[in-house]
C-alpha cells in the first residue's frame, strides 16, 4: 500500500534514507541540504536507524570519511550543496576512480559569486566530469524515488561507481507537496543487503585502495572507469524497471512529454520541467505542436537517445540552469548539440541559460521560449547564441 502524505524534498530524501538505513553517513551542514543530515541525525537519536553518523569539520573531510567507510565495506551516504561540493573537489574524483558506490544527495545551489543560496546547477555540473553518475529530480516524489534506486545502481557488479541524487535547492527541497511513499518492507527488499565484493576489512583479501599508478597503468584504469559508466546505462534502466514493478512509477534516462509529433521542443533538467509541461499543455490547446524532454540522467549522458527523440522537431531549445563561461552556452547545450550533430539531427537549436541563482521561471516564460522556436523555424528569425531567459535589462 502506498502512503499518501505531504512533505518537502529534503524530508522525502530523509524518509528514503530511513528506509535504506545506510551503514555510515559523514556530513557537514550547508544550505539548502542541511536538513538532510539534521533529519537523519534525529532518526539515529530516536533509534529508528542504526547508521553511524560522523560529524566532520568540512566537506573535504565528509567525502574523505565517506571514501574510507565505503572502502572498508560500508554502505555510505553523504549530502551537500554548492560550496560544500566545491570544497570536496579533490576527493570527489578519488571516490569515483576508487570505484566506491557512495551515494550523495546533492541539493543544487549556485556557486559563489555573487554569494547566493538559491537553486542553480553549477555545483553538480561543475562535477560532471568527476566520474559520478548523476540523476536529477523534478520534484519531491522523484527525489525520493531516485534515492531508493541509487544504491542498486552504484553497487551493481557491472558499475561500482558513486551516484549523485540531485534536486533543486529550495524549489523542491523546501516546498511541501503531495507525495506517495512506499512501505518499509518492499523498499528494504528492493534495496537489498550490501555485500561488497572487495573491501578493506576483509582479512582474507589484503588489498590497497587508491595507490599511485604509473603511466603504464593509469590510462587503463581510467578506461575501465569509463567503461563502467557506459555499462551503468543498462543497469539504470533495469533498476528503473524493477522499481516501476514495485511502485507503479516509471523512469528512464529522460521523460518525453507530448513528444510523439512535436515540432518544437524544449529540453531541461530539474524543477522547471513541471512548469514547462504546463506551458506545453497550454500551447497544445492552441494547436501548437509543442513537446518537452526532461533529462533525468545526465551522467552517463544519454546523447544518442535524446537526439533520437528530437529527430522530428523543427526547432529545439536546450536549457541550462548553469553558465559555463565558455562563450557557447551551458553543459547540456554543448553535449546535446554535439549528440544531435553525430546523429544527423538537423533541427535548429538555441541554448538558453535560465534560472541562475534561483531566478524564477513562470509558465509564461516557457511559452515565450516556444514562441521564439516558432519564429526561428517559421520566419527564419535568428537568435544571438546564447540568450538568458528572464534577464533584466
Amino acid at each position: 500500500m502506498a502512503i499518501r502524505t505531504s512533505m518537502s524534498g529534503n524530508e522525502a530524501t530523509a524518509y528514503a534514507v530511513r528506509q535504506i538505513n545506510p551503514d555510515v553517513m559523514p556530513a557537514f551542514p550547508i544550505t539548502p541540504s542541511t536538513e538532510i543530515p539534521q533529519f537523519v541525525s534525529n532518526m539515529i537519536a530516536n533509534g529508528e536507524i542504526d547508521t553511524e553518523f560522523i560529524p566532520v569539520e568540512s566537506e573535504h573531510s565528509s567525502m574523505s570519511a565517506a571514501i574510507g567507510a565505503s572502502a572498508a565495506g560500508a554502505r555510505t551516504l553523504t549530502a551537500t550543496s554548492s560550496a560544500g561540493l566545491a570544497l570536496m573537489w579533490e576527493v570527489v574524483y578519488v571516490a569515483a576512480s576508487s570505484r566506491l558506490p557512495i551515494v550523495m544527495a546533492v541539493v543544487n545551489r549556485g556557486l559563489t559569486g555573487p554569494l547566493n543560496i538559491n537553486a542553480e546547477h553549477s555545483d553538480s555540473m561543475g562535477a560532471r566530469d568527476s566520474g559520478w553518475i548523476q540523476i536529477y529530480a523534478e520534484n519531491n516524489q522523484e527525489a525520493y524515488d531516485n534515492m531508493l534506486q541509487a544504491y542498486r545502481i552504484a553497487e551493481h557488479k557491472d558499475v561500482h561507481l558513486p551516484v549523485m541524487i540531485c534536486q533543486d535547492g529550495f524549489i523542491t527541497s523546501h516546498a511541501v507537496e503531495n507525495i506517495s511513499l512506499l512501505e518499509d518492507e518492499p523498499v528494504k527488499k528492493f534495496v537489498g543487503e550490501y555485500c561488497p565484493e572487495h573491501y578493506l576489512l576483509n582479512e582474507k583479501e589484503v588489498m590497497a585502495v587508491g595507490p599511485y599508478a604509473v603511466s603504464n597503468y593509469c590510462m587503463e584504469a581510467k578506461k575501465a572507469q569509463a567503461e563502467a559508466m557506459i555499462r551503468s546505462k543498462k543497469v539504470i534502466l533495469e533498476v528503473a524497471e524493477e522499481f516501476a514493478a514495485m511502485s507503479g512509477r516509471s523512469y528512464g534516462f529522460f521523460e518525453a512529454y507530448r513528444m510523439e509529433d512535436a515540432e518544437y521542443a524544449a529540453v531541461a533538467i530539474g524543477s522547471v520541467s513541471g512548469t514547462a509541461k504546463d506551458a506545453v499543455d497550454r500551447l497544445r490547446e492552441k494547436g501548437v505542436k509543442a513537446g518537452f524532454l526532461k533529462v533525468r540522467v545526465f551522467r552517463p549522458f544519454p546523447g544518442e537517445e535524446l537526439a533520437k527523440e528530437l529527430r522530428g522537431c523543427k526547432a529545439v531549445a536546450i536549457m541550462d540552469r548553469c553558465e559555463s563561461y565558455s562563450g557557447q552556452g551551458g553543459p547540456l547545450g554543448a553535449e546535446l548539440t554535439a549528440a544531435m550533430y553525430r546523429a544527423k539531427v538537423t533541427a535548429e537549436t538555441v541554448n538558453i541559460v535560465y534560472g541562475l541563482s534561483g531566478r524564477d521561471v513562470r509558465v509564461e516564460d516557457m511559452e515565450k521560449v516556444y514562441g521564439d522556436l516558432r519564429e526561428m523555424a517559421e520566419e527564419g528569425k535568428t537568435f544571438k547564441q546564447y540568450p538568458y531567459l528572464g534577464l533584466r535589462e
Binding site: 524549489i171 523542491t172 504546463d278 509558465v363
Partner: protein, 190 residues
C-alpha cells in the same frame, strides 16, 4: 471555490508566515487536496520581509514558480504596508487579509486603490486573549481559511487539533491556547 486557489503571505522573519503557509498546505492536504507550500528564500534575518506561498488545487500541481496573481494575500505585519507592494497582482475577485490594530479608514490609503475585499484582524488582541503571547501566524491562519473558503471551518479546526497535537507533542500545555486562538480569529476577522 475554484479548482486552484493561490495565496501569498507577507511577513517578517520570525513571525511564522512561512509556518502558517506550510500549516495551511498540510490542512488542505488532509482534506484530499493537492498542495504546494513554499517560502521564497533570501538572506535569513529576523525582522526582514519574507514571502511564502500556497497553491491548493483539486488537480495535480506541476508548476514550480512563485505566485504573481494570487487569489488571496495575507499581511502578517502591517508595517510592511509602507514598504512592500502587497496588493501587486492580487485578483480583485479575491481579497487581502491584514493583521492590524489600525482602523479600516487608516488602512485603505495604504492599499494602492485595491478594489477587492479587505479583511482586518487584530491578531494581537486574539493572541493576548487566548495564549498570552504574540504569535500572529496562528490567528492569521484561521482568518485566511475563513476568507478564502479553501477548507470548511469545522473541518479545519479538527485537522488543526490533530496537527498541533503532533507538533506540540513535547509541550501539550500550549495546545488549548492555540486552538482557542484559531476559534476566536474565525469570529473576529472582519
Amino acid at each position: 471555490m475554484e479548482a486552484l486557489t493561490e495565496i501569498r503571505w507577507h511577513g517578517r522573519g520570525g513571525q511564522g508566515a512561512k509556518t502558517a503557509a506550510l500549516l495551511l498546505a498540510e490542512a488542505a492536504f488532509n482534506i484530499g487536496k493537492h498542495v504546494q507550500g513554499f517560502p521564497e528564500y533570501g538572506p535569513e534575518r529576523m525582522g526582514a520581509p519574507i514571502t511564502a506561498y500556497d497553491r491548493i488545487s483539486d488537480d495535480e500541481i506541476r508548476v514550480h514558480s512563485n505566485i504573481y496573481e494570487p487569489d488571496y494575500v495575507a499581511v502578517v505585519d502591517d508595517t510592511l504596508l509602507h514598504t512592500v507592494d502587497v496588493t501587486k497582482g492580487l485578483k480583485e475577485s479575491g481579497g487581502i487579509l491584514i493583521n492590524t490594530r489600525m482602523e479600516r479608514k487608516e488602512i485603505l490609503p495604504l492599499l494602492n486603490g485595491y478594489r477587492g475585499k479587505i479583511y482586518l484582524l487584530n491578531a494581537y488582541h486574539v493572541c493576548m486573549e487566548t495564549m498570552g503571547k504574540y504569535f500572529p501566524n496562528t490567528p492569521m491562519l484561521a482568518a485566511m481559511v475563513k476568507i478564502s473558503g479553501v477548507i470548511g471551518a469545522d473541518v479545519f479546526l479538527g485537522e488543526m487539533e490533530k496537527s498541533l497535537a503532533h507538533k506540540f507533542a513535547k509541550k501539550p500545555e500550549v495546545l488549548a491556547g492555540n486552538m482557542a486562538a484559531l476559534k476566536l480569529a474565525l469570529t473576529e476577522v472582519q
